[in-house]
């Protein structure tokens, strides 16, 4: 057997190359003295370029490097959303003391490294690239969580995330070994072929493998009962990082979750759908119950994120194109609703020096409409009320579930949404009630930057309503992801 070098499609790889280049540039800028000031611009530019290249590849579907990476609707859609989250996170971090503390270019280099890993993960089509990309996005995030060096809970958060994340990675790797052992392949399609041709389908070895991979991925996207790190890390990490984690890790995690389970493990769909449905159900219960008693907005969002992840798993459980479309639409909606909310948090923190307690939002409905509305719309959307995009996201998920014969999970999703009223509405109620008290002004960054972040919040709020009324553009965008996985029933 002669060695054949894999074919590399450089055009398909170009978004990744753009990100690598941007990463290298920010690292160099870190030691470039006064030029360090342009690091944020360089980071944003590289993500914009990568996004532009991805848009240029819209509708394409091909192998990137000998079948280990796959450029298709799923990876393009999810990567674009991740890049959007990355750009917003850079904006959020500009005035963040944590970023200054860590050295701004260093902070940005870590962020870009994580974005790079996530983009690769959406394309991963092989156990090896899967694991490498996962680690590439995780390791910088561990460091990012701990960048607020003066705060003990930031360090605690970083360390906790590192330890539990590594445990998740190890479990995942262990599971991969079983899957490889059972199928004799690392490529996703080859695993599917190997599994369906062998007589191992119901064998404990392969089921152990699937179980361990599920657990590993559940750690990453914070599904219960593997979620314990989430609230602590959300609360401890600098807010810009929390915002990024809240949306981007879910996007990247669910991209590979969908691709791995729906291509490589597709022959076993009848085995794992029940496991995933059970995990979804547990997450919905645990997340919603946990969120109710939280006083910190970030912790509350952490717990509610667990419940939201539970809803999202529904899109995978049904193992249909409809399901993946619903998942991807829901994630896009989730991104808009969350980033709108986090924009408000960032401004409150950087301008008014307030902490992240829900109580600190009291009365902003009276004195600061530009902040009150985005967070109100974000909360109503996360509940799933019309006319926000959150309502349609739930509608798509429920339709897919009912169509696939998982009506009980659909009912559980709406029961979860009801429980979520208790804590999301508490935020809305606090925002709009109470009398004005003069906000304390912390010495902060220029007001032009804060104006920009307020603008970001308003833009996401407007989008949340706009797509709630006219969902077609967003749906067409999300549907790309569903079409990518061709082996599924309509």
């Amino acid at each position: 057997m002669t060695f054949q070098p894999p074919e590399i499609d450089y055009w398909a790889l170009s978004p990744v190359i753009a990100l690598v280049f941007g990463l290298a540039l920010t690292v160099v800028l870190a030691v470039a003295g006064r030029l360090a000031r342009i690091a944020p611009a360089a980071a944003i530019l590289s993500m914009v370029v990568a996004g532009g290249l991805l848009i240029g590849q819209w509708g394409e579907s091909k192998d990137v490097i000998g079948g280990t990476l796959e450029l298709d609707g799923l990876s393009i859609t999810f990567s674009l959303l991740i890049l959007l989250a990355g750009i917003v996170a850079v904006l959020f971090s500009l005035g963040d003391p944590a970023a200054r503390e860590a050295g701004r270019p260093d902070f940005l280099a870590l962020l870009l490294g994580s974005v790079l890993g996530m983009v690769l993960l959406t394309q991963a089509n092989n156990l090896v690239t899967f694991f490498i990309a996962l680690e590439l996005f995780s390791i910088p995030l561990y460091a990012l969580c701990g960048t607020d060096l003066r705060r003990e809970d930031s360090l605690e958060s970083g360390l906790k995330y590192l330890i539990i994340g590594s445990l998740g990675s190890a479990t995942l790797l262990f599971g991969m070994a079983f899957v490889y052992g059972a199928s004799g392949a690392t490529g996703f399609e080859q695993i599917a072929d190997g599994l369906s041709s062998s007589d191992l389908l119901g064998d404990p070895i392969i089921l152990t493998g699937v179980g361990l991979v599920t657990v590993g991925l559940a750690f990453k996207v914070s599904l219960a009962p593997f979620h314990q790190w989430t609230p602590d890390v959300y609360q401890g990490a600098p807010t810009a990082v929390t915002a990024f984690m809240a949306v981007a890790t879910k996007l990247a995690g669910f991209a590979v979750f969908a691709r791995f389970f729906l291509t490589a493990l597709e022959p076993l769909a009848d085995e794992w759908d029940v496991i995933l449905a059970a995990i979804a159900a547990i997450s919905i219960v645990v997340g919603n119950l946990g969120a109710i008693s939280q006083d910190s907005l970030k912790r509350m969002l952490g717990y509610s994120g667990i419940a939201q992840a539970g809803y999202m798993v529904g899109g995978i459980v049904v193992a249909s194109t409809e399901g993946v479309e619903a998942l991807s639409f829901y994630l896009a909606a989730y991104l808009a609703l969350n980033l709108g909310t986090f924009a408000v948090l960032v401004v409150r923190e950087q301008r008014d020096g307030s902490d992240d307690s829900i109580e600190s939002l009291r009365g902003i409905g009276r004195r600061d409409r530009a902040l009150a509305w985005p967070i109100t719309i974000g909360m109503l959307g996360l509940i799933g009320l019309p006319p926000t995009v959150g309502f349609l996201g739930k509608l798509y998920l429920i339709t897919a579930l009912v169509d696939g014969g998982w009506t009980w999970l659909g009912i559980l999703i709406v029961l979860g949404s009801m429980a979520s009223l208790a804590y999301y509405l508490r935020v809305v109620g606090t925002v709009w009630s109470g009398e004005t008290e003069s906000p304390g002004h912390a010495p902060g960054p220029s007001s032009r930057l804060l104006g920009l972040i307020v603008g970001v919040g308003i833009v996401f709020a407007v989008l949340s309503i706009g797509f709630g009324i006219l969902p077609d553009p967003l749906y067409d965008f999300a549907a790309q992801a569903g079409e990518a996985i061709g082996s599924l029933p309509g």
Binding site: P386, P387, D403, L415, A422, L425, D472
Partner: protein
């Protein structure tokens, strides 16, 4: 045409956000008035023989089979008119008592958003669109009750409002799943691509076994919204805190959306289940009648009396619908209109009484009629209509309902009749304790002002007209209601 009618209030609501706070009521009032004119034009042009006249339909989310389709028929035409009519005095009353808290813009925006959402629920002829508007209704009222509602000691009304929204959303979110399941069940039965168009769903029908559980999900949503006992846990708290103009439309119109849902969706789409569970629902209804009436006469808080009498009235309406009989169902629809027409003036009068006595409790009141004969007459008419005295349209409604019920079950009809007697007691007590007896110190028997008379009298006039000419309503609705009931009747 229907789209313009539907969105007109919201457009004016947005305008109200843009003008100075002190002038926000101008576009709001103009918007509701224009909506009323438009609704009247639609109602006049409505022809029961040609229900498709104003229908419009645009594909909205094609991949899920959801369309933006609106239609008006005998079931909805007067409810739309009632909605448009009820909002005008509510806005006018709010405008005449400008709170001056600087947030009027938001108040009127929310109030008009509520009108659009309610009209949407009545006009939608796509099931998902109906659910969407049903859910949307609750959002503006959450803000209206939460931000402007005050408890007796002046605190804001967060807890009561949260309770209300949790209760009502429990129902409406479950209904969302049920609606999707109805669509798929009908798809399976017919073998045609999925559609949520309500006429299409009725034509296709859904599997009998699916009907049995879907029925209860819809019924739960509607019962909570109305509310019927024992789903009325949110009602006392919400009524106690709500700002009066918002409460007037909430009580008059939103509660009817639940009853309307039975006629629009449940009976025609799930006829087997409706027939099977008929007795169970009739018992629910009759329990609500007795419970609501009994609690109403133990209360001294005027808002509570009106609230619990509404529970009883909605019980009557449900009774009429589930008599599954032409007479009863026609009576129920007629009674929905009547109750809406009675409640708006009744609640606004509570506001006037409170201004004269400084209290909303019956205890320290009395004698308000002394120098205010016109005010007393207006209130007397409203009271008489509440207790459904012969000669009032409410009497005709209750008579038709009981007439229909007698044909199903004599026992239930007799028990329900007790509710009529109780109503006479609590309604008369309400009138006596406020208007008659000596005037206690601190109270002021002032004649109703011209402005307030202009706000309240028109609805009372409509009530009087309907007493003499119920055919205006019954003539137009008869065909549509009969069609719904016959759908169930065909099974037997």
């Amino acid at each position: 045409m229907l789209s313009i009618l539907l969105w007109l209030p919201l457009v004016f609501g947005i305008v109200a956000l843009l003008v100075p706070a002190a002038r926000a009521w101008v576009p709001a009032l103009a918007g509701t008035a224009l909506t009323l004119v438009l609704a009247a034009v639609v109602a006049v042009g409505f022809d029961p023989g040609d229900p498709g006249r104003y229908a419009e339909s645009v594909s909205w989310i094609p991949e899920l089979g959801i369309s933006y389709s609106l239609a008006i028929d005998g079931l909805s035409v007067f409810l739309v008119l009632l909605t448009a009519l009820a909002w005008v005095p509510a806005v006018a009353f709010a405008a005449s008592r400008n709170a001056g808290d600087g947030r009027e813009r938001l108040f009127y925006f929310m109030l008009l958003l509520g009108e659009t959402a309610t009209l949407g629920a009545f006009l939608a002829s796509d099931l998902i669109l109906f659910v969407l508007f049903f859910d949307l209704m609750i959002v503006p009222f959450y803000f209206l009750f939460g931000l402007w509602g005050r408890t007796r000691d002046g605190a804001t009304a967060g807890g009561a409002t949260t309770k209300m929204i949790i209760y009502t959303l429990v129902g409406s979110l479950l209904m969302l799943v049920a609606a999707v399941a109805v669509g798929f069940s009908a798809e399976e039965v017919s073998g045609k691509p999925i559609s949520y168009s309500i006429p299409e769903l009725i034509a296709r029908g859904i599997g009998e076994s699916d009907q049995y559980w879907l029925f209860w999900l819809f019924a739960l949503a509607f019962f909570i919204k109305m509310p019927l006992f024992p789903f009325n846990g949110w009602m006392p708290d919400a009524y106690r805190v709500a700002p009066l103009p918002a409460l007037a439309v909430f009580s008059a119109v939103l509660s009817k959306v639940g009853a309307y849902g039975f006629l629009r969706v449940v009976l025609p789409v799930m006829p087997d289940a409706a027939e099977l569970f008929q007795t169970a629902i009739l018992i629910f209804a009759v329990v609500s009648i007795i419970y609501g009436s009994a609690i109403a006469f133990t209360k001294i808080d005027l808002r509570m009396i009106i609230g619990f009498s509404s529970v009883a009235q909605l019980g009557f309406i449900t009774l009429g619908i589930f008599a599954l009989d032409e007479t009863g169902a026609n009576g129920a629809l007629f009674q929905m209109i009547n109750h809406g027409l009675v409640v708006v003036p009744a609640i606004l009068i509570v506001g006037l009484i409170a201004e004269r006595t400084g209290s909303e409790d019956l205890g320290p009141m009395g004698g308000l009629a002394k120098n205010a004969p016109i005010f007393a007459v207006i209130f007397l008419i409203v009271t008489m209509a509440t207790l459904a005295i012969p000669g009032s349209p409410n009497f005709i409604g209750e008579f038709l309902i009981l007439n229909g019920t007698f044909q199903v079950s004599v026992a239930i009809a007799i028990v329900a009749s007790v509710g009529v007697a109780l109503a006479a007691y609590y309604a008369l007590r309400m009138y006596q304790r406020t208007m008659q007896n000596p005037l206690p110190p601190g109270s002021d028997s002032r004649e109703i002002s011209l402005r307030d008379a202009l706000i309240i009298v028109p609805m009372v006039l409509v009530l009087v007209i309907l007493a003499f000419a119920p055919q205006i309503v019954l003539g137009e609705t008869g065909d549509a209601v009969s069609a719904v009931v016959e759908k169930v009747g065909q099974l037997g």
